[in-house]
């Protein structure tokens, strides 16, 4: 407004810009780290192509050592993200900038690491290190892809409901089902009990990741009861109709919870490859470096 002086802040953290925009980790500072990563890769590639190493490019040439050193330092630095992320220290650093650099410098390792091999791959500890590195990078690429697409879907599915609330509403429906089943016949009550006793979150990792509900007891019970209620007119005071309605609500809630857990699992599962593979990589790398210097 005309009468407002521009606001000054004593401490400048990353804030939304005056035009209301902000950038995610991929676009951070207008793709600064993408540019740096690409420049680094291009530089290495050009040097690789211009320098004539005899008899052929390999890890043992001066260029090979140089690329190898850059690669090792990068790998160690990239691993440090796990520490940085959890260490809340003072100072003007931003984890977003670290993530951005982690992504793009990590991608540039494909070029640096591969050029370091001089395309001499074989069945040895040296190639094992390269393979592990590629595994880490590929799992990372998967990670970026889910980070870029899933949050929107998760937010849409969550629809302002927290996970705790979802589980609470599931318990609430179960409680109502339990009450509503009291007047039912033994046969029907047994069906409802089957739904109540169902371990909603059972099943393995695969079930979690696929969001499959093929073996869902509630769905089976609902189908059975629906066969009976479907044909009858809903007079509004049939306890079975009420159970039918409640089961339908439970199914809706269940599918939301399953989708939520599925998204969460997909956002996390790759880390179970990425991080152990990183440690395996560091181990293999150590073996690789020691053996190289041992057999100098």
């Amino acid at each position: 407004m005309a009468s407002q002086a521009p606001a000054k802040r004593a401490r400048q953290t990353e804030r939304v810009r005056s035009d209301g925009t902000h950038e995610g980790f991929l676009r951070h500072r207008n793709f600064l780290w993408l540019k740096i990563g690409a420049a680094l890769s291009a530089f290495c590639l050009i040097v690789y192509l211009l320098v004539d190493v005899t008899p052929r490019h390999n890890g043992g040439s001066w260029l090979g050592y140089a690329l190898g050193t850059i690669g090792v330092l990068l790998i160690l630095w990239l691993t440090a993200l796990g520490y940085r992320k959890r260490k809340m220290t003072r100072g003007a650093w931003s984890l977003k900038a670290w993530t951005s650099a982690h992504v793009y410098l990590g991608l540039s390792l494909i070029v640096i690491g591969t050029l370091h091999t001089g395309f001499q791959l074989g069945w040895n500890v040296h190639t094992l290190a390269w393979v592990l590195m590629m595994l880490v990078i590929l799992s990372g690429i998967y990670g970026i892809s889910v980070y870029a697409t899933l949050p929107q879907q998760m937010s849409f599915n969550r629809d302002q409901v927290t996970e705790t609330q979802m589980l609470a509403s599931l318990r609430e429906v179960d409680r109502q089902l339990h009450d509503a089943a009291q007047p039912l016949s033994q046969h029907h009550a047994a069906l409802v009990r089957e739904s109540l006793e169902q371990d909603v979150f059972g099943g393995g990792l695969w079930q979690r990741l696929s969001g499959s509900s093929r073996n869902c007891a509630t769905r089976r019970v609902h189908r059975t009861i629906r066969q009976e209620t479907g044909a009858k007119a809903d007079t509004g005071n049939d306890p079975l109709e009420r159970v039918d309605g409640l089961l339908e609500r439970k199914l809706a809630t269940l599918s939301r919870v399953r989708r939520h857990l599925r998204y969460k699992a997909m956002l996390e599962v790759w880390l179970y490859v990425h991080i152990p593979a990183t440690f395996a990589l560091i181990a293999a790398l150590t073996a690789h470096v020691i053996s190289v210097f041992f057999y100098w």
Partner: protein, 847 residues
């Protein structure tokens, strides 16, 4: 003298900390006295605290002066100690005695008549008069006996008495006004009367455990739950839907009989089973009773306190008022006053108040040798707005304020500094640098006047730099003290309003205006309260008034294609309505309050006259108008080509306003397009602040993937500050609202926050370092430790008190808010509303 009449020197009414301390002093001095308590135990207010509650001893700098001991500790320990010491001191106590009336028995005091105004529900009022009589006073008690005392000390607090049921059968033993332990009752039909928070919480407590098999019914006079918190209402409705609680709408209790209760409802009478009635219908403040004793209050304001002399004597000679009723809710204050008042009654004229050392320290660095009383008098007579205060108020006022001497040329505060305090000039003068680009242009403010009022009223940053023009002494009045001052001294309120309106206009329009030019405009200016959502200007209306937003914020909307489109967000300090004055014609857009606001309404024709007389002002106003017209035209042009984008922009803006962004100064938003739900923001928050997170990422509303998590908005006028007994909530140097160490854990701020961002919790034990967790799995890892871990690792034997915890915007932490720094994807951002709600957002989205 009849058998039931007892005579003594001092009658002390109420056995809270103030009354107990007074009685102990009287016993110590050997004065004949009686301590009257309406219940069967001492100190009922503290007695009613929940079991094991930690009672705090604040303010810590205040020295305790009492014959009773008191230190922070558990409720039981404190009550036990007092019971013991009261018995040991030989205090005469009358339990189960409620004072019904206090009347003077001496000669009528010439010219001393108490006027009592009783307001009725229908808005009319009735005035009755009481002729005051000299002491001794006769106290009639509820047990039929009487006490005649030379002096009466009223220490009855502000809790009042619960409103009682008035229907037939209300005196039956199963009608109760309190619920100590909801787990106590099983297999009962229980009716809760009253749907305020207390009633709802009781009903939910009774119905919580289905194993108790209680049938709980709550009675509501109407259909709405106007006096209860939203969360409680929601929980109640959920319990109703789950069949755990019955709600009896549109009902009033007609009769209670053993086993049954009868309601009058819209559809006739209804009789249901009832083994117990719990009535929670609020309590009547004790003001009526106090006034009937001949004690005058400072104003008709609901929050006003009795008018008192420096020795706590009320307008009824011989009746003294101390403690919460006198406006001092903290235990230490109360106990000191109990001691002091008995000394005064006993004729000790040289006793200095216990806060004397605190005030001495405040005045110690000032030039000129004056003692505390002289300084207080000097400030009171030198500063216009303080003139209406009595010496006791002045003491209390100075405890909340600071006074400082400034050398010539010294900066008092700078433009854009946050600050909500008011300054008053006791000596010397200051100059205001009105132009940020040229500090040599200044406006003087002289002795006795005030400055800094814009910060106080609008909660916004300081508008100009203020420098001492000569050696000066200024009082800095904290926001709380300034609000108290305004409510207790109406003249001060009027003076502050007039000055602030004038200054706001001068600052806004600038351009060579002087206060003389504004006299006519000020005479027509009115300050109006606007409730949230209310429209102050309707599109298409006639009318030329100018509205200046003094407090709160407004939203400008225009009907485009049959839908209201959000045009602009106006923070406090802006004005609207200039188009109709300058260009004529109807209003081109609607303006409504985003939150509860205050506007200054200036008469249009008068303002037009001013414009005609001041071409510079006209030019400035025209420029502002042109800017807004461009904006309107821009939005309208976009509406044709990018209708969806404009709708979206409009909806997002309205969503944010609904979620309190309108009163925010700095708020955390999460872009759910980017948020992967790692909760690193919460972990970083906990790790930066003693292990407790001050934000709940997942909770909160979302619109168009823009999520407003449960986290402090640092409101312009923080609701949490409204009722903080130790005054522990302040606005810090970067605009953050924070709670300092003097928090007593009362939970008022938590209840007052409409956004639910304050939690009450004890600081968890210290965790092992990150590396020992990473390498050896020691400790709970990053983030807030689980309750289980905290419990298992707590220092044995030490119970930490729960205190209020809220976001402090990482004040004092280099780098700024941890939540934003620790977000790996850039989803977490902090924004201030006027930037975020700007039209630039629309420009970008439609680009």
């Amino acid at each position: 003298m009849n058998r039931l009449t007892e005579s003594c020197r001092i009658a002390i009414v109420g056995s809270g900390p103030a009354g107990l301390s007074a009685a102990a002093r009287a016993a110590q001095l050997g004065l004949s006295h009686v301590l009257i308590e309406k219940t069967d135990h001492l100190s009922d207010t503290i007695y009613k605290y929940q079991k094991g509650k930690h009672v705090m001893a604040t303010p810590s700098q205040l020295v305790l002066r009492s014959d009773l001991d008191f230190d922070a500790g558990k409720r039981e320990a404190i009550l036990g100690l007092w019971d013991e010491q009261v018995a040991g001191a030989g205090v005469t106590v009358r339990h189960n005695a409620e004072v019904l009336s206090i009347e003077g028995t001496g000669e009528p005091i010439a010219g001393s008549v108490m006027k009592i105004v009783t307001r009725k529900r229908d808005g009319t009022s009735e005035t009755s008069e009481i002729q005051r009589r000299a002491p001794p006073y006769r106290l009639k008690l509820s047990d039929g006996s009487e006490i005649v005392a030379d002096a009466v000390i009223l220490a009855i607090g502000t809790q009042g008495n619960p409103n009682l049921m008035r229907c037939a059968g209300a005196d039956l033993p199963h009608v109760q006004y309190q619920l100590d332990d909801p787990k106590e009752y099983i297999d009962e039909h229980i009716v809760v009367v009253g749907t305020g928070d207390a009633g709802i919480e009781n009903a939910l407590g009774l119905a919580e455990d289905a194993e108790q098999r209680n049938v709980v019914t709550i009675v509501n006079r109407g259909m709405e739950f106007a006096t209860a918190k939203g969360a409680n209402v929601k929980a109640l409705l959920a319990a109703r839907d789950a069949g755990r609680v019955n709600i009896q709408f549109n009902s009033e209790t007609k009769a209670i009989e053993p086993g049954w209760i009868t309601f009058t409802t819209r559809d006739g009478e209804e009789r249901i089973r009832c083994d117990r009635v719990i009535a929670r219908m609020g309590s009547a403040p004790p003001r009526g009773f106090v006034e009937s004793c001949g004690i005058e209050f400072t104003s008709g304001d609901r929050l006003a306190f009795p008018r008192l002399s420096p020795v706590f004597e009320s307008t009824a000679p011989g009746i003294f008022v101390i403690g919460a009723l006198a406006g001092y809710p903290l235990i230490k204050h109360c106990m000191n006053q109990g001691y002091d008042v008995v000394e005064f009654v006993n004729g000790n004229a040289s006793l200095k108040p216990a806060d004397e050392p605190i005030l001495e320290a405040k005045f110690k660095d000032l030039p000129g040798r004056r003692d505390v009383a002289e300084w207080l008098d000097y400030l009171r007579s030198g500063i216009t707005i303080l003139e209406g205060m009595n010496p006791l108020q002045m003491r209390e006022f100075m405890l909340d304020s600071t006074v400082r001497a400034y050398r010539r040329g010294e900066v008092i505060f700078e433009r854009n500094e946050p600050g909500s305090s008011l300054f008053a000039i006791a000596d010397g003068s200051v100059s205001v640098q009105v132009n940020p680009d040229d500090p040599s242009i200044t406006v003087p403010i002289g002795k006795g006047s005030i400055f800094g009022e814009v910060g106080l009223i609008s909660g916004r940053k300081r508008g100009a730099t203020i420098v001492a023009a000569e050696d000066a002494i200024c009082v800095e009045i904290s926001r709380t003290a300034a609000l108290k001052l305004q409510s207790s001294v109406p003249a001060a309120k009027r003076a502050i309003e007039r000055i602030s309106t004038e200054r706001q206009l001068l600052q806004m329009f600038g351009s060579g205006l002087t206060s003389a030019d504004l006299t006519e405009v000020l005479d027509t200016a009115r300050i109006e309260q606007v409730s949230a959502g209310k429209t102050v200007i309707d599109e298409g209306d006639e009318g030329t008034d100018i509205l200046v937003i003094r407090q709160g914020s407004m939203v400008v909307e225009k009907q485009i294609g049959g839908k209201p489109v959000f045009l602009n967000y106006l923070p406090a300090g802006s004005y609207v309505g200039e188009m109709a004055v300058i260009a004529g014609g109807k209003r081109t857009a609607s303006v409504r309050a985003a939150i509860k606001s205050e506007v200054i309404r200036i008469d249009g024709p008068t303002f037009r006259k001013l414009l005609d007389a001041k071409p510079q002002l006209l030019a400035k106003a025209s420029a502002d108008m042109a800017e807004r017209q461009n904006l309107n035209a821009f939005v309208e042009s976009k509406k044709d080509s990018f209708s969806n984008v404009v709708d979206m922009y409009s909806n997002v803006a309205n969503f944010l306003i609904e979620n309190g962004i309108g009163e925010a100064t700095d708020v955390l938003l999460i872009d759910e397009n980017l948020c992967v739900g790692c909760d690193n923001c919460e972990k970083a928050c906990a790790d930066s602040h003693e292990g407790l997170s001050r934000l709940d990422r997942e909770a909160g509303r979302t619109y168009a993937h823009l999520h407003v998590p449960t986290s402090c908005r640092h409101c312009e006028h923080p609701h949490c500050m409204a009722d903080c007994p130790p005054n522990a909530i302040h606005r810090g140097p970067d605009g953050e609202v924070f709670i300092n160490d003097t928090c007593i854990g009362c939970g008022n701020c938590q209840r007052n926050c409409p956004y639910g961002v304050i939690r009450m919790d004890a600081v968890p034990p210290k965790k092992p370092g990150l590396l020992s967790w990473l390498l050896f799995g020691k400790g709970p890892g990053p983030g807030e430790p689980s309750k289980k871990w905290s419990y298992a690792n707590a220092e044995p034997g030490v119970e930490k008190a729960k205190k209020a915890i809220k976001c402090d915007m990482c004040s004092g932490i280099e780098g700024g808010p941890a939540c934003v720094r620790a977000c790996p994807t850039g989803a977490a951002i902090r924004v201030s509303p006027e930037k975020f709600l700007s039209i630039a957002r629309l420009e970008r989205e439609s680009a």
